[in-house]
Subunit: 455 residues, 2 copies
C-alpha cells in the first residue's frame, strides 16, 4: 500500500472529498503561483475572487456531504477561446469580443463535476499560430525558460500547468495546439478523436480539424478530464496488452528531427524494448501531402469564418494572423474539395500504419521550445519556418481525426523537455490512454525508466 | 370492394404473386413499348434478353412458392448514372466509362425485392443539366410531345415511365433532376430526405446535394420503392390528419410562374379548400439566396470530381457541360464555405415555413416542358435561361435536404402536364408521402377532383 500520489487529480480529489485538503487551499496555492510568475503571462483573465468563492462553497458542500463529482474543488484553467459564462472570450485578440452568456458545454460538464475555473489562459491569437507570441495580451513565456516560447496555440494552458497555476487545463488543437505546448512545457496533452468533445461555445479556427482536449500533468488526469468533458460516466482505460506493439513512422516523421529529439526517441524505444515491448518501423502512406492538404482546408475555413470580422477590424489583428487569414481567401474551392478528398486517403494511410500496432510512437515536436522571436529554426541541417516545423509532426492527426497524446519524453542537453507523441485508432481514445499510461510508467518511474527532470 | 388497380405496383405484384399475371408478359410489354417509340430515346441500354431471362426465372420461382419480395417480377428502369453489374455506367457521356462489377446498393435492394432491371435510361450528361438534351446518346424526347424536352437530368427515366416502358424508374436529383422530368412528363417523382437512400455506386454531381429516389406513376408506388431502396421492411405512410394544412410559399416561388401553372395551382388550392383542407400563404426566409448558394456549392463540387477526367477527356464532354465544369474551377473556397453556412440558414427558413403546416405546396416547374433546343423561356413577362427556370422551384430543397415530391397537377392549355410539388419535414418522408397521397386523391379522382388527361 502506498499513500496518495499528489501528482494525480484522482488522489487529490479523494483527499478533498475526505476533508484532508480544502479546495480553498488548492485555489489559493494556484493564485499564489499565478501572482509569483507574472512574466509567464499565462492568463488573460484570473477569476480570483470568483474561484475563491467557489472554493469556499465547495468546501461547505463537501463537508455537508454534497459531493458533486470527480473534480469537486479542483482548480482548472480554460483557454480563452472557450466560453465561460460572465467572461469575454477574447481569443487573445484585440478584435472586439463579447461576454459569454453561458458556459460552453465542455465547461459546463467540468463545473458539473465540481471543477473550479481559476482563469482563462493566454493563447496565440484566434488559435492561429504555434508559439503564443502573437497575442493582444502579450506573449506567453515558457515557465521553464522565459526566453523561450511555451508553444501554442494553447501556450497559456501549458505554461499555467507547468508552473503549478492550475491542476489541469483545457486547450484546443487544430494542427497540434494542445500537443505542441505540452511538448514545449513538459506536460501531457490529449487531442481526442475528432468530435469526441463538443465544440459548441468554442471559437472555431477550422471546423474540419478543431478538437478540444485536456492538458494535464499525467495520463490518468487526461483520462479523467476526457471522461468528464465527453459526458461519460467514468474514465474508460481498458487494460493494454502486457506486450505492447508500437509503430514508429520513420520517413517524414522521425527522420527529420533535431539530435536531442532523436536521442530521446532512441532512449524511449530502447527502454520499451528492454521491458519486453515490441517497437516496429512503419510508414504512413502519402504523408508527404500532409502540409499541403492541411493548408488548403484550414486556411479557407479560417478565412471564411473571419471574413466579416476582417472587414470591420482588420487592423486589430496581429500582422501574422491577418496575413494568414488574407491568404486563405485565395484558395480555390476545387483545391479545398480535393484536399478534403485526399484527407480521407491520409486517414486510410494512418489506419494501415496502425494495423497490428497498439499505437504509433513518434515525437510531438521535432525540437525543443524555440526562442521567443525566432522566425526560423535549423533542424537536421535544414532551415525551416518555426511555424511549419512545430506543426510538422502533429497536424496529420487533426486531419485524420485519430486520437493523439503528447507526453514528456525526457530532457534535452539544454535541460528543456522534449515531447513524445502516441497515436491510437479512431474512436478508441480510451485504448490510446491505456497505452500512454504504460509508456508513461516506463519513462518516468520503475526499473529501466528513462525520463526525469525537465524543470 | 373493388378489383385490383393496375396503375399500382402493389396490386400488380399481388396479381403476379397469385399467378394471375406473368412477369414474362410484363417485361415483354415494356420491351414492346421501348421498341415502338425509338424517337423518345429513353434508354441508353435495353437489357432485353437478360430481363426476359430474369422474368422467366421469376415466374418459375413464384410458381414454386419462392416469392422474393414486393417487387418480384416488376420491370424497373435505372438511370445510367447508377451502377448495374455487367453494364457500363455511361452517365450519358462520351467520356470513357467502365463496366460496373457490382450493383449499387440501391439497385441490389431493388433486385433483392424481386425487381427486374429492364434497362438503363438516358440522361443529361453526368446529370449536369435540366433538359436531357446534352447526351452523347442523343436527346431524350418527351413522349407526350416529341418536339419537347422530357426535362432532366433523369429525363429518360420519366419518359420511359410516361411511355409505359417500365413500371417504375430510379432517378437522381441534385437540383431537381427527379422532380423536373416528372413534372414535364406527368409522372410522380420523389426526392427523399438527404442521405435516406445510399449513394454508393452512383456517379456524383455534387455530394452535398445528390439524392437518389423513385420515379413512379403514383404516390403509393413511390412509397413502396422508397421503402425498398432505403432498406426498410415496409412502406411507412402514417395516416395524415383528416384536415390537412398546406403552406403555399408565394414570394419567389408561386409569384413567378407561367399563367397555366398559376391556374393549376389555383385549381388545386380551390379543390383542397372545398374538401375542407386549409391552404395558407407562407414565406420562406432568405429564399433569394437560393441560386447563388446552389451554384457556389454545386459547381466546385462537380468540378473537383471531374477535374481528372476533364484533364484527359475535355473534348469528350458536351460543350455546355464542359463550360459549367470549367466555371466551377474559379469558385473560391471562402465562397464555397460561406455558401455552405448560408445553406444551414436556408434550411432553418424552410423549417420555419413548415411550422404549423403538414407540407408546403408549390409548383415543381414554373412552366410546362420547354421545346427542345430552347435556350431561354419567357415566364411572367421575364426572359430567363431555360436551365435557371427549370431549377428555380426545386433546388432549394436539395440544399436543405427536405423531402420533396412532384406529382401531376393537371394539364395546361397546350394539353401537356403541369407539375405540383409538396415538401415535408426532414426525416419525415413517410409523412410527406401520406400527405401527397391525399392530395393525389383530391386531384385525380373523387368528387371535386381537378386533374385529368395529360397524355
Amino acid at each position: 500500500m502506498t499513500g496518495p500520489d499528489l501528482r494525480r487529480i484522482g488522489d487529490i480529489a479523494a483527499l478533498v472529498r475526505a476533508g484532508g485538503v480544502s479546495p480553498v487551499d488548492l485555489v489559493q496555492g494556484c493564485l499564489d503561483q499565478i501572482e509569483s510568475r507574472p512574466r509567464v503571462n499565462a492568463f488573460i483573465i484570473v477569476l480570483g475572487d470568483r474561484a475563491m468563492d467557489e472554493a469556499a462553497t465547495a468546501e461547505h458542500e463537501i463537508r455537508a456531504g454534497r459531493w458533486r463529482g470527480p473534480l469537486h474543488g479542483i482548480p482548472v484553467a480554460v483557454k480563452d477561446l472557450i466560453d465561460v459564462a460572465g467572461t469575454r472570450t477574447t481569443s487573445g485578440s484585440a478584435v472586439p469580443s463579447t461576454e459569454a452568456a453561458e458556459d460552453a458545454p465542455l465547461v459546463r460538464r467540468l463545473r458539473n463535476a465540481g471543477a473550479i475555473v481559476i482563469g482563462k489562459t493566454n493563447l496565440h491569437e484566434f488559435a492561429f499560430g504555434t508559439t503564443s507570441e502573437e497575442s493582444a495580451f502579450g506573449p506567453v513565456r515558457n515557465p521553464l525558460d522565459e526566453t523561450r516560447s511555451a508553444g501554442g496555440s494553447s501556450g497559456g494552458s501549458a505554461a499555467a500547468l507547468a508552473a503549478g497555476m492550475c491542476f489541469a487545463a483545457v486547450g484546443t488543437d487544430t494542427g497540434g495546439s494542445i500537443r505542441i505546448p505540452s511538448a514545449a512545457c513538459g506536460t501531457v496533452g490529449l487531442k481526442p478523436t475528432y468530435a469526441e468533445i463538443p465544440m459548441a461555445g468554442v471559437v472555431p479556427l477550422s471546423t474540419s480539424f478543431d478538437h478540444a482536449g485536456p492538458m494535464t500533468r499525467g495520463v490518468a488526469d487526461a483520462a479523467l478530464l476526457l471522461a468528464v468533458m465527453k459526458g461519460a460516466s467514468h474514465a474508460a482505460m481498458p487494460q493494454p496488452p502486457r506486450r505492447l506493439v508500437l509503430g514508429v513512422p520513420g520517413p517524414l516523421f522521425c527522420d527529420r528531427v533535431e539530435d536531442d529529439v532523436a536521442a530521446m526517441l532512441a532512449r524511449v524505444r530502447g527502454a520499451l524494448e528492454d521491458a519486453g515491448h515490441a517497437v516496429l518501423d512503419v510508414e504512413i502512406e502519402n504523408a508527404r501531402w500532409t502540409a499541403d492538404v492541411y493548408l488548403h482546408v484550414m486556411l479557407p475555413e479560417a478565412s471564411a469564418w473571419h471574413a466579416p470580422l476582417l472587414e470591420r477590424h482588420a487592423s486589430s489583428y496581429s500582422p501574422g494572423v491577418r496575413l494568414r487569414l488574407e491568404m486563405g481567401r485565395y484558395v480555390l474551392a476545387e483545391d479545398y474539395l480535393r484536399a478534403q478528398a485526399l484527407r480521407r486517403a491520409l486517414g486510410a494511410g494512418v489506419d494501415r500504419a496502425l494495423d497490428g500496432c497498439d499505437a504509433l510512437l513518434l515525437p510531438a515536436l521535432p525540437m525543443g521550445a524555440p526562442p521567443l522571436g525566432a522566425a526560423t529554426v535549423e533542424i537536421a541541417g535544414r532551415t525551416e519556418p518555426v511555424r511549419g516545423a512545430m506543426l510538422r509532426l502533429t497536424q496529420l492527426f487533426n486531419m485524420t481525426g485519430h486520437p493523439s497524446i503528447a507526453l514528456p519524453g525526457g530532457a534535452g542537453r539544454d535541460g528543456l523537455p522534449r515531447g513524445l507523441q502516441l497515436v491510437g485508432r479512431r474512436r478508441a481514445t480510451g485504448r490510446l490512454l491505456a497505452v500512454a499510461a504504460a509508456v508513461e510508467r516506463q519513462i518516468s518511474g520503475g526499473p529501466g525508466s528513462v525520463g526525469g527532470g525537465t524543470g
